[in-house]
């Protein structure tokens, strides 16, 4: 069980939080998702997983949802 934090940009409101949460939740291996929203800035995405999360799959999922993962 580990938690990894990622920066995400493009989020403006609670609706975005839900969209990104869902996208991240669907990535294999993820067991928990929460987001600290910074509207119009860089929000923090906390991802819990049993083993290290697949960062590439996560980035693709966030991108497909219309937001951007910060490296």
């Amino acid at each position: 069980m580990s938690t990894t934090d990622f920066g995400v940009t493009g989020l403006t409101c609670n609706h975005c939080v839900m969209t990104v949460s869902r996208a991240a939740a669907l990535v294999p291996g993820v067991t928990g998702v929460s987001i600290d929203l910074v509207a119009n800035g860089q929000s923090t995405l906390h991802v819990e997983s049993d083993s290290a999360v697949d960062a590439v799959a996560l980035e693709q999922a966030i991108d497909a949802a219309g937001y951007e993962l910060v490296h």
Binding site: T12, V17, S21, V30, T31, S34
Partner: protein, 732 residues
Amino acid sequence: MATTHVDLALEGMTCATCAGRIEGALATVPGVTATVNFATERASVDVDGETDSSALISAVVKVGYGARVIDRDVRDTEPPVDPVLTARVALSLVLTVPVLLVSMIPALQFDGYQWVAAALATPVVSWAAWPFHRAAIRNARHGATTMDTLVSLGVIVAYAWSVYALLFTMAGTIGMRMEMPIFGYAPDALYFESAAAVTAFVLLGRWLEARSKRSAKQSLTALLNTAAQQAILLVDGREVSVPAGAIHTGDQFVVLPGAIVPTDGRIIDGQSAIDASAVTGESVPVTVGVGSPLIGGTVNAGGRLVVEATAVGSATQLARLTRMVEEAQAGKAPVQKLVDRISAVFVPLVIVLAVVGGVAWFALTADATRAVSIAVATLVVACPCALGLATPMALLVGSGRGARSGIIIRGTDVLESTRRVTTIIVDKTGTLTSGQPTVAGVAGDGMSDDRVVADLASVEMGTNHPLARAVVANATSRGVMGEVARDVTVEPGRGVSGIVGSTTVRAGSLDWFTETSTTIPTGLADTAKDWASAGMSIVALAHGDRVVGLVAVRDVTKPSAVEAVKALSALGIHTIMASGDSPEVVARVAEETEIDEAYGSMSPADKRDLVVRLQRQGEVVAMVGDGINDAAALAQADLGIAMGHGTDVAIETSDIVLVSMDLRRVADSIRLSRATLGTIRGNLVWAFGYNALAIPIALAGIMGPAVAGLAMALSSVFVVLNSARLTRFRMS
């Protein structure tokens, strides 16, 4: 283009017209559609495309109101009372007391005291009294006069005249003492104490009122917060914890024991009991199993459930109820305050009298100073100090008396509504009945009553269903508790089965036995039909594939309910019952309580519609309820009364809260409200009365400064004493 949703908290709205103005202002911003709720002081705004929320705020500010963005995820904690108002009250009290003392007690007057009084009164009449001046100007634009106009005018005239007197008459001379003759022409009278005291007293009244009303605004936030914040989403059999809003219709999610159901759904795996008390106010958990629908916001009191989402976001029942409450509150016309209604007549009359008096004196004596001083004296003496205390004092004492008996009255508007109530609607559950069903009849087919009850109790012992508990309680009181059945299984919504000795014993609804082709002897079937039509619930007992006994269970009408209905009728109020229960059960309770009208199978929307229909017929409707399902009707009703352990939302949307479940308190609360309103009217009559009596003296040109002081003191003392009488109000 993406649509975003913004909620704004609005400030400065005084009437429904303001709401319309703000709506219009927001609509001028490109891509914006907005609705403004006057009652909750909120604007709900949908923005198409790239519009910054600051553009919305500036649009609102431009038409003269205040706005700020509300973050829906954060509980909107309003400060207890506007801190600026608190500061104004504190400052005016601190400065007014010395002014009063030094002006009214000649022994305390020192050289130059009048200049000190002027200095102390200045911040009071300017900064502290600013809300009155601002409102008076706003009213003047519409040609209206309210209590604010009276206060503002009285304060300004008293202060301006006193400053003039200080600068241009003998009054400003150092060493001058104010004499206190009751009658006699005093061209150099100073009214600094009147100006300051009126401001301080009326502000204090406002502050007391604001404090008692503050929580009303948080009702809708409370409703939204009933929903769970977190949920466990099932993705290919994997559990992922996500924010509740991430669930879509058709998703599967897990609800752990003790967790809040995150959204509406249907159970696809697991069995449990659901505690819906947060939503419906019903205290008894309901048994659920595969196929049972779940409402978001209820609590899983039993086992782990896997649920498929059937509705999310604004489509959930909770969201629909929220909207209904919002609409109902928005449609509720604010009651015009009694003081304002009196002021609307009193103020113009006083102004006319002052002007006519001044002109008449000038015509008679050609003495301009004298004419103006008489007009001023008239205006000053007419402005009653006790006006500010008349309402809050009575309310404070009345609500204090109510609180001691578990009646919480929220605000003055409520009192006005209770005066006019013609019809009262009560929800049956928990208000008219005990909420604890008991066994009312037993029938066996070749079996003793004791045996029927004993066998039912054996299988039902472990279940938490209210009907089962009634049967077990009956078995205990008969002393026939038998062995506990083996291999007990629960069929949600149908019944239980188990093995007693070597027999398969089932307990459940007759429908279940009909479905499973169990033989029902005609004798028992006839008895069941009679009982059902008498409004009783039936638990049937089967041995193997044959029904062998029946038990009738009913919710007992409270003895106090009959008295309560009588008491309400005695107040001339038409009584109606509106319940979600079956029409037969409702009809029985209606008959036992002698209630005037009764409706069964009522949904939350039906209840609200009933209120609306009655209101259209000209009835003034009070609604008694306890759950979120009653919240819309409570808010729609002219007077909402929440009972007992009611849900937060029911309490927040109601006008009166009753701590006990005793319906007699409803009649008491209406009587107490009416008594409080009567006291307020008495207070106002005397507050205005004593000062009005002084008007002829002022017009006659013989008003000594003592008269203004005397009128102020007498009316204030009367208001306090008259309000204190409410402590002796008797409950039934």
